[in-house]
């Protein structure tokens, strides 16, 4: 659309590919990586278990796993698969690398991030978002007619990864670091929801809801003991 007043286009005019091509992205990605889905689910399960009983080492493990996942998804999905059909994604993929570097950097610090052990609204929402990304989000594709072959698995595809990261950052401390790590997953979810909306996908609201939920949790007053 270069050279034109891009803001005068309808949202669907900015779309570059059809719903069929978008669905096939995930099918081909899953085909190419099988059985890595099992590894993604297993590591996600380990991370969820650690989130339920977090300690310094466990927290660093989760942050390190997220770092690897952001790097992998940025390269294997965004750069290799998505960018060829959407030139805008070539500019987004390096940001996934940046997020991976931020997470990797924090994972090397002893007190890089702290995850709460006591139950609170914030913790409940954070763990809920992570559990959704791991268990329920893969079922969205079959539930909306795209089939199990197009399931979006945590650690392999961007939406569940962004939602899981929102969950972790929604409850993590210190707040400044958590906000810094929350920004890119939130932006990704917004663009993903927008893309799904103009594709006419019924699950378009899910990434948007995840962002709102994470922001609510993040802004929720911290329990008195942790102030």
């Amino acid at each position: 659309m270069g050279g034109s007043a891009w803001w005068t286009y309808r949202p669907e005019d900015l779309l570059m590919f059809s719903p069929r091509v978008y669905a096939r992205l995930f099918e081909l990605h899953n085909q190419a990586l099988w059985p890595a889905q099992l590894l993604g689910l297993a590591l996600g399960g380990v991370a969820l278990a650690v989130l339920l009983r977090p300690g310094p080492r466990g927290t660093r493990l989760i942050v390190a796993l997220l770092a690897v996942a952001w790097a992998f998804v940025g390269w294997a999905f965004l750069w290799q698969r998505y960018a060829p059909i959407h030139w805008g994604i070539a500019y987004v993929a390096p940001l996934f690398g940046l997020q991976a570097l931020l997470l990797a950097g924090l994972s090397t610090l002893r007190a890089g991030l702290h995850l709460p052990r006591r139950w609170s609204v914030r913790r409940g929402i954070g763990i809920g978002l992570f559990a959704y990304a791991l268990v329920l989000h893969p079922l969205v594709a079959p539930a909306t007619g795209r089939g199990l072959a197009g399931a979006e698995i945590l650690g392999l595809t961007p939406d569940p990864l962004a939602i899981a990261t929102l969950g972790v950052t929604a409850m993590a401390e210190p707040a400044r670091r958590a906000w810094a790590l929350l920004a890119l997953p939130a932006l990704w979810c917004l663009q993903s929801g927008f893309t799904l909306y103009i594709l006419g996908e019924p699950g378009a609201w899910l990434p948007l809801l995840a962002v709102i939920t994470a922001l609510v949790a993040r802004c929720w007053p911290a329990p008195a003991a942790q102030r």
Binding site: T8, D13, F17, V21, H86, W87
Partner: protein, 312 residues
């Protein structure tokens, strides 16, 4: 899981595919019917090149990445397009992998000689233009483009100088500019008055008729061909009309579907060289090409057609 095939078997598979596509194409236009079903053509003004009045766009529809299943589906669409007498295919470096998809299909169908290859240059940098054009040419796998256009007027002054130099040396046959969505028509008019072009591409259909006021008459007067993009408003127009019956008098112009009704309206304008609908469906490409046949509406009927659609 697919097993790697030895080269000989791969070759056989390719041959088999070509045979299947040829058979599919032949079934579309059997024997004697094929001759009478040739689409109407219009000469690109000042060039002597007669183009079928319905071409093939590739925005969105051919952006399928390296998905083998969808690549073959696009190849089948192009096979049907050529079998129905089509020639002009339009693409752009902006359209993701569409150029590579066209290149894949041209190779599979051995149709490089058949196609009228229309592409675009789409960069704000004049210096980057030649490199981008060469990358596009390699993606298509053609020796040269028939028509190169400056996409959405982006950097048009510098690129038109490049294209004029290429035309002088025979590296491209024809040159033009494009716009879409009815935008920047003042600037298009300015260019049409100042610069020698072979073609201009813009949005024109039965509801987007802004170009009728100045640009279509001006292009005709200046001897410049006109390619109509977004004939169906990217399906929106077809969806709007779906479920509504065609008027009985649509039979007078041989329109059996809304798509044909709309295409016949577009290509019957005396200034329009061709329309370029995009599709992923073999049946639709046949339906579209079938619109480029007599009878076409006269001016009075065109007005009636536009009034009818406006009233729905």
């Amino acid at each position: 899981m697919a097993l790697p095939l030895p080269p000989r078997l791969l070759l056989s598979r390719r041959r088999l595919l070509r045979g299947l596509l040829a058979a599919a194409a032949a079934s579309a236009l059997p024997g004697a019917l094929a001759r009478s079903a040739e689409p109407l053509t219009r000469t690109l003004p000042g060039t002597g090149v007669a183009l079928p009045r319905v071409g093939l766009g590739s925005w969105i529809t051919f952006n399928v990445g390296d998905d083998p299943l969808l690549l073959e589906a696009c190849t089948a669409v192009m096979a049907a397009f050529f079998a129905a007498g089509g020639r002009l295919i339009d693409s752009s470096p902006m359209y993701g992998t569409s150029q590579a998809t066209i290149g894949h299909a041209l190779k599979q169908l051995q149709a490089v000689e058949r196609v009228y290859a229309a592409d675009k240059v789409w960069t704000s940098s004049r210096d980057a233009g030649p490199e981008q054009i060469e990358a596009s040419r390699q993606a298509w796998g053609v020796p040269r483009f028939d028509l190169l256009q400056v996409h959405n007027l982006r950097g048009w002054e510098g690129h038109l100088e490049t294209l004029q130099a290429m035309k002088a040396t025979g590296e491209v046959h024809h040159l033009g500019i494009t716009t879409s969505h009815g935008r920047r028509h003042d600037e298009v008019e300015h260019i049409l008055r100042r610069v020698s072009l072979d073609s201009v591409q813009l949005t024109y259909n039965i509801v987007d008729r802004e170009a009728e006021r100045r640009l279509l008459p001006l292009a005709r007067e200046r001897g410049i061909g006109l390619i109509a993009n977004r004939p169906f408003q990217r399906k929106r127009l077809i969806r709007r009309l779906a479920g509504k019956p065609l008027p009985p008098w649509a039979a007078e112009i041989g329109a059996e579907t809304w798509a044909q009704f709309i295409l016949k309206f577009i290509i019957s304008h005396p200034a329009i060289t061709c329309a370029i609908p995009a599709t992923t469906q073999v049946e639709h490409v046949r339906e579209n090409l079938a619109a480029a046949r007599e009878p076409l509406p006269d001016e009075a009927l065109r007005r009636r057609m536009a009034d009818h659609v406006r009233g729905l």
